[in-house]
Each structure stands twice: as structure tokens, then as C-alpha cells.
């Protein structure tokens, strides 16, 4: 059985239009014009148990609307959803028992209480048997390294510490699916790597199904086998990162550090996309010119200190996908 099946999901919102200014606000008291915004315009996808997928799209693309429908918060206009065989909005309570949800921007912990008290309360909210709770808590405390601040009030934690606690909080009831909404936003490098490591471990070792929404393409590159790109309520692309690259960014980059400060690099089959001091970045299509041939030509024509070939950054590819869709 698939973990999540989504078929032709449509969701529209009615938005009140307000006229600007004080007078407009006043007029809005008596008469409001509404317009309909389509957040999801027939989205379909299927997620198998144990997959870790990146769910990405620009702001307002419909990411959080999808997550809210998948977790039973919102009702769709039409379409079908099955989360572990349940329709979330008809079976809210049974669906959410199986879900862990982390919002990077806000915490679900009780602000003024020590972390451990929030965990204990969540145990009672989810009716976790004491034995299971003990075992999961010990495990999470070790893996996420929470021991030193379990007794510290949440408001005194650093962002990285808080995020680790929030991830633990979402897993205490042993969910089978985890939604992560920007889990690395605002984290320092060490915390970010720790969080990524942990997510990878959860997915690979425990076969937890994970949906990750993020704007950080390094998260996607580091974690996701599969990426779903949505834009204006449509699925733009669905596949592995390599497939995405093959479809939208076949070009490669040759980066050359010249010996000569003001040497000019020219080649009929490559274009200079950047120039910073001695460093020149050339873009080329490997289908038209073999990288080895280009390297040979450039090194023959110039004094070269160092060179390397790389894929264009994933951000650029994604930006290109978004642009191509509008």
C-alpha cells in the first residue's frame, strides 16, 4: 500500500478584496468584493512508504495548502487523498495519530516550561504507552543530543536546540509519516548538518516516510531521492534530482583560474557566464562539446593555474523551472 495517494486535488480560497486607505477599510465594513484564488489546481502524486521526498515551489505555490489537506486541517474542494489508507479530513483524529509535523518557523513546545514537561504532556495527548515513551525518549535524547537542555525552559533555548527538540517532539508518538516544513531555516552550520544527518538516519534506518518542504536547495541535494516541484497549483516536475538536472539544466560549468590577471578566454562552443579576478566561469553543453575537448582547448590557449568542471547550482535550475512555468 502506498503511504500517500493524491488524485486531482483542487482547493480554492475566497479572498476578500480591500480597497486601500482608511476610507476603503471603512467601505469594506459594508460591502466586500471577493475573488477566488486557486491554490491547488488538480495535483496528483503517490508516495511509497520509506520515501524521502522534497516538496518544493516558490512562495504561494500551494505547498502548505497541500500539507494542510494531507494532515486533515483543511478540506479540499475536490479530489481524493489517502494517507495510510485514510481520508484525512474525514478521519482527522486517526490520521494525525500517524503523523509527525514540524514547522520550522514556530514551535509546538510550551514556551515557559522545561522541554521535558512538553514531552511528557505530548505523551498524554497522544496516549503513548509508558514503555514505548521511555524507549523513544531515550533514543531521541541520544541521537539528537538533547540531554543537557531537557530541563531548560523552551524560551531559553537557541534556535538550533529548539529545532532539535521540536523534531523529537514530533516523533514521540512513533508516527509513520513525517512532514517537515523548513526544518533548517535560520540554523547555524553545525545545527543544520546535525538536523540533516538525523533526518537521513530516520529515513534510511527506520524507513520513515518524510515529506520535506524547504527553500534551501542544499537540504534537497543532501537528502531527497525524489523532488516534486509545484508552481501555481500544478505539479511541474516529479522525479530524481538527476532527472531534474537532465531535463532543465543539461549545461555544465568549467571554472578556470588563469595565471594571467587579464587574460581573455574565448571559445566558440562555450559562453563566459562570470568573471571574478583570475577566475572565469564558462557554461557549455556536454552533448555538443566533450568536456575533455574543451579543457584541452582552454589549457592550450591559456596559462591555467587550476580548473574544475561542475554542475550548475541546483538553485539556478530550480529558478529556471519556475521561470519557464510563468
Amino acid at each position: 500500500m502506498s503511504a500517500i495517494v493524491v488524485k486531482n486535488l483542487v482547493k480554492t480560497f475566497k479572498v476578500a478584496q480591500r480597497t486601500a486607505g482608511t476610507l476603503g477599510a471603512f467601505a469594506g465594513l459594508f460591502h466586500r468584493r471577493h475573488c477566488t484564488v486557486t491554490a491547488l489546481d488538480g495535483i496528483s502524486f503517490t508516495i511509497q512508504p520509506g520515501e524521502l521526498i522534497g516538496y518544493i515551489g516558490p512562495n504561494g505555490a500551494g505547498k502548505s495548502t497541500t500539507i494542510k489537506i494531507l494532515s486533515g486541517i483543511l478540506l479540499p474542494d475536490s479530489g481524493q487523498v489517502e494517507v495510510l489508507g485514510l481520508t484525512p479530513w474525514k478521519n482527522r483524529i486517526n490520521t494525525v495519530r500517524q503523523l509527525g509535523v514540524v514547522f520550522g518557523q514556530r514551535t509546538q513546545l510550551w514556551w515557559d516550561l522545561p522541554v521535558i514537561e512538553s514531552f511528557d504532556l505530548l505523551k498524554d495527548i497522544y496516549n503513548v504507552p509508558p514503555g514505548d515513551y521511555r524507549q523513544r525518549l531515550d533514543e531521541l535524547v541520544t541521537l539528537l543530543d538533547l540531554k543537557e537542555f531537557l530541563d531548560v525552559p523552551v524560551r531559553q533555548l537557541s534556535l538550533g536546540q529548539r529545532m532539535r527538540c521540536d523534531i523529537a517532539a514530533a516523533l514521540l508518538h512513533g508516527p509513520r509519516i513525517l512532514y517537515l516544513d523548513e526544518p533548517t531555516i535560520g540554523l547555524d552550520a553545525v545545527s543544520m548538518l546535525a538536523v540533516r544527518d538525523f533526518i537521513r538516519q530516520l529515513n534510511r534506518q527506520r524507513k520513515l516516510t518524510v515529506i520535506l518542504t524547504t527553500h534551501d536547495m542544499d537540504d534537497i541535494e543532501a537528502l531527497c531521492q525524489r523532488v516534486l516541484v509545484i508552481h501555481q497549483g500544478h505539479v511541474l516536475s516529479d522525479g530524481s534530482l538527476d532527472e531534474l538536472r537532465a531535463r532543465f539544466g543539461r549545461e555544465r560549468r568549467l571554472i578556470v583560474d588563469l595565471q594571467d590577471e587579464d587574460g581573455v578566454v574565448q571559445d566558440p562552443q562555450a559562453t563566459v557566464v562570470r568573471r571574478e579576478g583570475r577566475r572565469v566561469t564558462l557554461a557549455f553543453d556536454p552533448a555538443q562539446v566533450p568536456p575533455a575537448a574543451l579543457v584541452a582547448r582552454v589549457t592550450a590557449a591559456h596559462q591555467v593555474r587550476d580548473l574544475f568542471v561542475e554542475n550548475p547550482p541546483i538553485d539556478e535550475i530550480i529558478a529556471r523551472i519556475y521561470r519557464s512555468a510563468t
Binding site: L74, L75, I93, R97, W110, D124
Partner: protein, 267 residues
């Protein structure tokens, strides 16, 4: 853990949270107490000068005052989650409650305890105690039972209004001062006998917001009085506080419509 157990867990958590700001809580409690004590002193002053109010003595009015104040304080203390619900919707925190496998009204009710409202409860209880002894009502269990029922009915009625106020937030996040008029205004109105008000006003507080049913009518048999104008039978005062309980249940029913609206529109 069942719903009742969980509710008390929430209450315990809220209590411990507020104990982090111990002095703030104590001073607010004291502030509420002093404000209300001065308010009652003003009423005492008026009676001292003018004697009675349409045949009602200070002790009799104090009984009404005590019932409505204690009942209102109880509702205010435990309904704070509903009172502050607008913020919750505005900040998007209500979504978190929808992500937990528990009834929503239970979770909102457990959000926050209005501990500083104890100031109102203490002041009300003191006025009530004074009225009870001055009127020589003694320790008859029927009368004490009716008093308890009246206070419970009042608390339920005000709780229901807080739920309706919260339900309104599903449609608009603008706070409506109308609800303060209904809660605070009503609690002040009910401090005096209904018989002093004009008929339309009295009807509003009997049939629309059944405030008289939980304060004035049960007070009549306690005081051995009868209703001069609406001519309700004496037994009515013994059962009318149940109307407050019915109001609370009706509010919960309306609340469910609000939740359904929120889940289909988002906010």
C-alpha cells in the same frame, strides 16, 4: 489518558507556566481584587445614602452581586483559552491543535488558565458570605444547593458567551468590543435586581442572553420574594439556572459549525 484527565494535565501545565511569572500573577490578582472592592464600596456608599433600591436592601443586592461575580470569575478563569482565541487563529496556532488527536474544544479550554481572575472570585465570595450571614439564610441544604446551582448556571452562561466570541473569530479576526459589552456589561447589569430595569432590557436578559435565569430568578426564592412584573411562578427560580447549562451546550454546538467553516476556508 481520558479527556477529563487530560484537561487537568493541561490545567497543571498552565499553572506551572504562570508560576514562572509568580509576582506578575500575584500583583494582577491583587489589582483585580482591589478594583472590585472599591466598586462594591461605591455601591455600599449609595445604599448608605439612599437606604433601599426599589425595596431591595444592600444585603439582598449583595447576594445578587455575589452570585454573578463568583460565577463570572469562574468562567473567566477557565475560559481564557476561548477568550484569547482570536490571537490563536491569527498566529496560525490553531492548526497545531488540529494536528493533535484530541477534541478541539478540550484543547482550547486547556490552553490557558486565567489565574489572576482569582481576585474576582475571592472578592465575590466575600460579598456573598457577608450577604448570606446578614440575611440569616443559615445552613439549609436546599438553599445552599440552589445557591450552588445559580453560581454554576452563571459560570456556564458566561463560558458559553466566551465560546461564541471565539467562534466569531473563525469568520473575522477583528476583535469585537461587542463581546466585552456582553460579558463585562452583563456582569454589572446582573449585580442589581432585574425589576429596576425597563421591560425590553429585562426581556433581553431573560430570553436572548438568559442572565436573569441564572441570577435574578434563583435569588427570588432565596430571598423569599416573588417576581412583581413578569409574574413567573416560584418554582421557576429553582430550575432556571439549568438554562445557563443549556446555553453552554448550545454554544458548543455553534462552535462546531465554526470549526467546520475554518477547515473549509482556512484563515
Amino acid at each position: 489518558m481520558n479527556a477529563v484527565g487530560l484537561y487537568f494535565r493541561y490545567v497543571g501545565v498552565s499553572f506551572r507556566s504562570q508560576m514562572q511569572y509568580r509576582w506578575s500573577t500575584i500583583l494582577s490578582t491583587l489589582g483585580v481584587f482591589i478594583t472590585l472592592a472599591l466598586e462594591f464600596a461605591a455601591i455600599w456608599g449609595l445604599f448608605h445614602r439612599f437606604g433601599t433600591l426599589r425595596g431591595w436592601t444592600l444585603a439582598e443586592v449583595a447576594l445578587l452581586y455575589g452570585i454573578v461575580t463568583v460565577g463570572f470569575a469562574m468562567a473567566e478563569g477557565v475560559a481564557r483559552g476561548f477568550d484569547m482565541f482570536g490571537n490563536m487563529v491569527r498566529m496560525g496556532d490553531f492548526d497545531r491543535l488540529l494536528l493533535r488527536p484530541r477534541p478541539l474544544a478540550l484543547q482550547v479550554a486547556g490552553q490557558e488558565l486565567g489565574m489572576h481572575r482569582a481576585g474576582r472570585a475571592i472578592q465575590g465570595a466575600m460579598v456573598l458570605g457577608w450577604a448570606w450571614t446578614s440575611l440569616h439564610l443559615g445552613w439549609q441544604w436546599q438553599l445552599l444547593g440552589l445557591l450552588g446551582l445559580a453560581i454554576l448556571g452563571t459560570a456556564c452562561l458566561f463560558y458559553g458567551i466566551y465560546i461564541l466570541q471565539a467562534t466569531y473569530c473563525f469568520w473575522s479576526i477583528q476583535s469585537l468590543e461587542v463581546f466585552s459589552v456582553v460579558t463585562y456589561g452583563a456582569s454589572e447589569t446582573a449585580q442589581f435586581p432585574m425589576s429596576i430595569y425597563r421591560p425590553w432590557f429585562r426581556r433581553f436578559f431573560t430570553f436572548v442572553m438568559p442572565l436573569a435565569a441564572v441570577t435574578y430568578y434563583p435569588a427570588l426564592p432565596l430571598l423569599g420574594r416573588s417576581d412583581g412584573t413578569l409574574r413567573t411562578p416560584t418554582w421557576f427560580g429553582w430550575v432556571s439556572p439549568l438554562i445557563g447549562v443549556a446555553f453552554l451546550l448550545a454554544s458548543l454546538w455553534v462552535w462546531r459549525f465554526g470549526v467546520r467553516h475554518y477547515r473549509s476556508t482556512g484563515s
